[in-house]
């Protein structure tokens, strides 16, 4: 078994080794795609943003000076693409995605599904820029300063968005927000 560390892969990819880039991309694409879907609420838009981010990563890799910064740099490219998509999509209807639970679930399934639906609706109610903060912080586990760097906004703005997002989600959920009905395949919500 040949163990290749990430730094070596980045250095190889930076030198034009596309196979190395493919390994790196494979390691990150699933979570970045999921995070983009959570932020953008639309498979197609998420695909656009992730592809744009990975394209930029491959194209600009030779200019990345510190291989150890690759992950943060890739996050920044993908999530700034998300923000660009948000800015471009203003008139496009947004698809609300509600996927079935995959794999075994421990505990009260009905409660988990209900909580998931409630959260889904609460997230949907957030402005996309605020939702990006919540997703990066809670889903990807990024500290708020890293979220600020990834999204290209001041840390004060991120803290404000984080605080206001939680307030709004609390208000919506505690007010007994009705979970949305299960979507029909292909149906879009405004």
């Amino acid at each position: 078994v040949v163990v290749v560390d990430q730094r070596e892969l980045v250095e190889r990819a930076r030198g034009g080794d596309h196979d190395a880039f493919a390994v790196l991309a494979g390691a990150f694409v699933a979570r970045l795609d999921a995070a983009a879907r959570l932020i953008l609420r639309d498979h197609e838009l998420a695909r656009d943003a992730v592809q744009e981010g990975f394209f930029a990563a491959w194209r600009n890799l030779p200019t990345l000076r510190d291989p150890d910064c690759f992950e943060a740099w890739l996050h920044r490219l993908v999530f700034r693409s998300c923000i660009n998509v948000i800015r471009r999509r203003s008139r496009r209807p947004i698809e609300v995605e509600l996927l079935p639970v995959d794999g075994p679930v421990i505990g009260d399934i009905s409660s988990i599904v209900a909580d998931r639906e409630v959260l889904d609706a609460a997230l949907k109610g957030l402005r996309p820029e605020w939702r990006a903060v919540v997703v990066l912080h809670y889903y990807l586990g990024m500290p708020l300063p890293d979220v600020a760097s990834a999204l290209g906004v001041p840390i004060g703005t991120v803290k404000s968005r984080h605080h206001r997002s939680l307030q709004q989600m609390r208000s919506a959920i505690d007010a007994g927000l009705t979970p949305p009905r299960p979507p029909v395949a292909g149906e879009q919500y405004a």
């Binding site: 930076r14 034009g16 880039f21 744009e52 890799l61 988990i112 909580d115 889903y139 290209g152 959920i173």
Partner: protein, 423 residues
């Protein structure tokens, strides 16, 4: 406990349920597309981004055993600097015009040990201007040659902005860390700076009192430079897939406009002509012969022309700088194929070409191995030489613009700037 109190601790797992992390179905196609896409060269944006990659080497080379020597050199340097200052003060020499040819003054460098030093380009003698235990990098002379800006690192990657007189005296912090890009105004009374650490932000700073005025034009500002002979700033801003557009805005943040005529495949910093009328830039697109082409666009009319450069078949080129009189352009020429030879020599070279596109392309200096990250290079104030430091081996060379190999200097610099003096 409210419903939200119950949900909040489980936000990560509930979000993971909402959007399972699986490899998306477009992944293979995406890789096929990236495999067909050419990477940008590492040298696509050398610009004046602070050379943070040398910070670590500076730190590593600062061995405790060298401290007494450094202190001695500092003392000697200060004595010499004082002498130079007294001499300069007694001369009352006129100042050069902010643009156009000037007389060659002192070369100031950032040493590999983290000091700022003056070098006599004729004798090669070196005088420490800013020494001590701090790590100081990226010196940059004002257009009148009277002041120096430099960056004092507070960590390996974050620096504060300092300013000093040309002889190293009166050093003071102007802007606290972090700063990632800076450029003097034509008149030397202001600087434009960009911060990328945290949230990107651009500001204008008055040198006299450090007053900071945000420059917020509603779009991303990259690589801002002052437009010669006008109180305007030219900058690039990102487009899709790593391309850029160029903009011009008044220094007070008004009258923003995109420069017309620029190719959608532009990738690098704007390189301004000394008269401020045009910029040179590099394009990078897919397709044979579409990488590393040089354009020059007129800022006001939007007239854009692709330079036809002698010997550019099978090469990528990147624009560095106009000569002080605006008649020449300094380029870096790379072979597309690693086996490519530049004028019979493998690798890449600096090339001087006529800015109007006619006439021969003159290779200067040594050839460096392919794919070794280019160089930082600038014309001497009088336009007769080029001072270049190659990233491959960090060697610094003084090159004659009329051609030839030139000579390596006796010093190595991580960054350098050449003082302009009145003719």
């Amino acid at each position: 406990m409210t419903a939200f109190d119950r949900i909040e601790p489980r936000l990560p797992e509930l979000m993971a349920d909402l959007a399972p992390a699986t490899v998306p179905d477009y992944f293979d196609e995406m890789l096929r597309q990236t495999a067909r896409t050419k990477q940008r060269p590492a040298w696509a944006s050398p610009g004046r981004w602070l050379p943070m990659d040398i910070a670590a080497s500076a730190a590593a080379s600062r061995l405790p055993a060298l401290r007494p020597l450094v202190v001695m050199l500092l003392i000697v340097g200060l004595l010499i600097a004082v002498g130079v200052a007294i001499f300069a003060g007694s001369q009352q020499t006129p100042l050069p015009e902010p643009f156009g040819p000037a007389r060659n003054g002192t070369i100031v460098i950032a040493t590999t040990s983290g000091d700022i030093a003056a070098v006599d380009p004729v004798t090669g003698s070196m005088t420490t201007l800013i020494g001590g235990p701090t790590r100081d990098i990226a010196p940059w002379f004002s257009r009148d040659g009277q002041r120096l800006m430099f960056v004092r690192l507070v960590t390996d990657e974050v620096g504060a902005y300092w300013i000093a007189d040309a002889d190293g005296s009166n050093a003071r912090e102007l802007v606290p860390a972090p700063v990632d890009w800076f450029e003097w105004s034509s008149t030397g009374d202001r600087i434009v700076l960009t911060r990328l650490t945290g949230a990107p932000a651009t500001s204008i700073v008055r040198v006299e009192d450090g007053t900071v005025t945000p420059l917020d034009v509603g779009i991303e500002i990259r690589n801002p430079v002052w437009r010669p002979n006008r109180d305007q700033i030219v900058f690039s801003s990102g487009r899709a897939e790593g391309h850029v557009a160029y903009y011009v805005v008044d220094a007070d943040g008004t009258d923003l406009r995109e420069i017309d005529g620029v190719s959608p495949d532009a990738i690098n910093d704007p390189v301004l002509s000394p008269d401020g009328s045009s910029i040179a830039y590099t394009t990078w697109a897919d397709g044979d012969g579409m990488q590393g082409r040089i354009h020059i666009v007129d800022i006001d009319s939007g007239r854009d022309r692709l330079m036809a450069i002698e010997g550019s078949d099978g090469t990528n080129e990147f624009a560095y700088q106009f000569s002080p009189d605006g008649t020449k352009l300094l380029l870096e020429r790379h072979g597309i194929d690693p086996s490519y030879e530049v004028n019979g020599v493998p690798g890449y070279r600096l090339v001087v070409v006529p800015a109007d596109g006619g006439g021969p392309a003159v290779p200067i200096g040594p050839a460096m191995p392919p794919g070794t990250d280019g160089a930082t290079a600038e014309f001497s104030p009088d336009g007769t030489q080029v001072l270049a430091t190659y990233r491959y081996d960090r060697s610094t060379w003084l090159l004659d613009v009329t051609g030839g190999m030139g000579e390596p200097t006796e010093w190595n610099a991580d960054a350098q700037t050449w003082q302009r003096l009145a003719p």
